[in-house]
């Protein structure tokens, strides 16, 4: 379940010194929506500080990434099929929606691709 893996995101990400280095100028809280379920992920200096699971009252975030639970599941496949293998590919086929201010995402696009790539099943922590 992606919900359980998301809660392990700090340990999956923060042990990767090259990932956190590339995010050293990044401070942001973003929303990850898995269908109707929402997670607020807070990043400070490239480290995942916290992952909070909703529901929320008046959540604050800079940008949100939203996809269905089924599409996130396919994205997490160790060998995802075409169109599910990359966040931008998911956007192209309208499976992933980016809302809010895209600035932190676009300036750190490789960071976010790598960060969420860590959610893939079988990716070592």
């Amino acid at each position: 379940m992606i919900q359980q893996v998301l809660e392990r995101l700090p340990e999956l990400a923060n042990g990767d010194a090259w990932l956190t280095h590339r995010g050293r100028f990044l401070h942001v809280t973003f929303m990850l929506a898995v269908g109707e379920e929402h997670f607020l992920i807070r990043i400070r200096e490239g480290r995942v500080e916290s992952v909070d699971r909703g529901p929320f009252v008046m959540p604050q975030w800079t940008f949100a990434l939203r996809a269905s639970a089924q599409d996130w599941r396919t994205f997490r496949d160790p060998s995802p099929p075409p169109g599910f293998h990359d966040l931008v590919a998911m956007m192209k086929f309208k499976r992933l929606q980016l809302d809010g201010d895209p600035y932190p995402f676009m300036t750190h696009i490789r960071y976010f691709k790598d960060l969420l790539g860590r959610l893939r099943a079988g990716v070592a922590s």
Partner: protein, 287 residues
């Protein structure tokens, strides 16, 4: 050369070509290897001729083909025209066609085969329509008649965003998952090296000016054979885009390359060459 550390020169030779192009003096970087039927290779948007390094280094191909690739103006080691600092670069269909014809003439190529990828795969469709008599055959890699943008292209060219980071980051998923790591990251490095606004300027042709949907059915492959090779994981020019082309162009031969993405010649050279070799063998049979 020093044999102790296995140093060796590749059979690829690079030179600078001075010529008048699009009404202005230009200095273009041109690479080539081999002898035989001229095979002129066109790189993707925002990249350069290094993408064809494996085709040039393939001894079997270079024993029968003179493989040539040039960096378009503004790209790679080619200079932009004088005055570049005062305007935004934008590639048009007309300029791109002129560029291919002018470079081909300047190099004295007689009815070359032209192989282009992405924007290069689009321009071969224009060449097939407008100048079929000039070419022995055309090969479109990741070739579609049109592409809709799926992100705001302004992100590629903003003074407050690192162009190398965003250009390489946005295209990284266009590479197929089975690509060898070294070739994947070599390909992305080329994107990280583009000048400001160059990738975006190329995409003006790809997403707006080069739309050829209304005309592709008029391509006559009896006048110039057309081969289409597209990677399975490409979401910019999808396999369906290429199948649609092949459906509309009588005689066009399409191949979908399993596991590959948008930069086949650069991201997975060996895999790509296994698809290219039969096409080249076929072309050699053409008069």
């Amino acid at each position: 050369m020093n044999a102790t550390n296995d140093a060796r020169f590749e059979p690829v030779v690079g030179r600078y070509l001075q010529l008048n192009l699009l009404g202005n003096p230009h200095r273009l970087y041109v690479e080539e290897a081999g002898e035989g039927v001229p095979l002129l290779c066109l790189h993707t948007a925002g990249a350069d001729s290094r993408q064809y390094r494996a085709v040039m280094n393939d001894g079997e191909i270079s024993s029968r083909f003179r493989v040539i690739a040039f960096d378009m103006p503004w790209h790679g080691k080619s200079s932009p025209p004088a005055g570049w600092q005062n305007y935004e670069y934008r590639l048009t269909s007309k300029d791109y066609i002129d560029m291919v014809l002018t470079v081909s003439d300047a190099l004295g190529l007689e009815r070359p085969v032209v192989m282009g990828c992405s924007i290069g795969g689009r321009i071969v469709l224009h060449l097939a329509l407008d100048h079929p008599e000039r070419f022995r055959a055309l090969i479109g890699l990741q070739s579609g008649a049109h592409a809709d943008p799926y992100y705001d292209l302004q992100w590629l060219n903003r003074p407050d965003v690192h162009g190398g980071e965003v250009c390489s980051g946005i295209v990284s998923g266009l590479i197929g998952p089975s690509a060898p790591e070294t070739d994947r990251w070599e390909t992305l490095w080329h994107y990280a090296q583009g000048g400001p606004g160059v990738f975006q300027g190329d995409l003006y042709f790809y997403t707006v000016d080069g739309d050829v949907r209304d005309k592709v059915a008029e391509i006559d492959t009896r006048r110039c054979p057309l081969y289409l090779l597209t990677g399975e994981y490409d979401y910019s020019c999808t396999p369906d885009d290429t199948r649609e082309l092949a459906h509309r162009i009588q005689g066009a031969q399409a191949t979908i390359m399993d596991g590959m993405g948008h930069f086949p010649m650069s991201e997975d050279p060996e895999g790509f060459l296994s698809h290219l070799r039969p096409v080249l063998a076929d072309i050699e049979q053409e008069p």
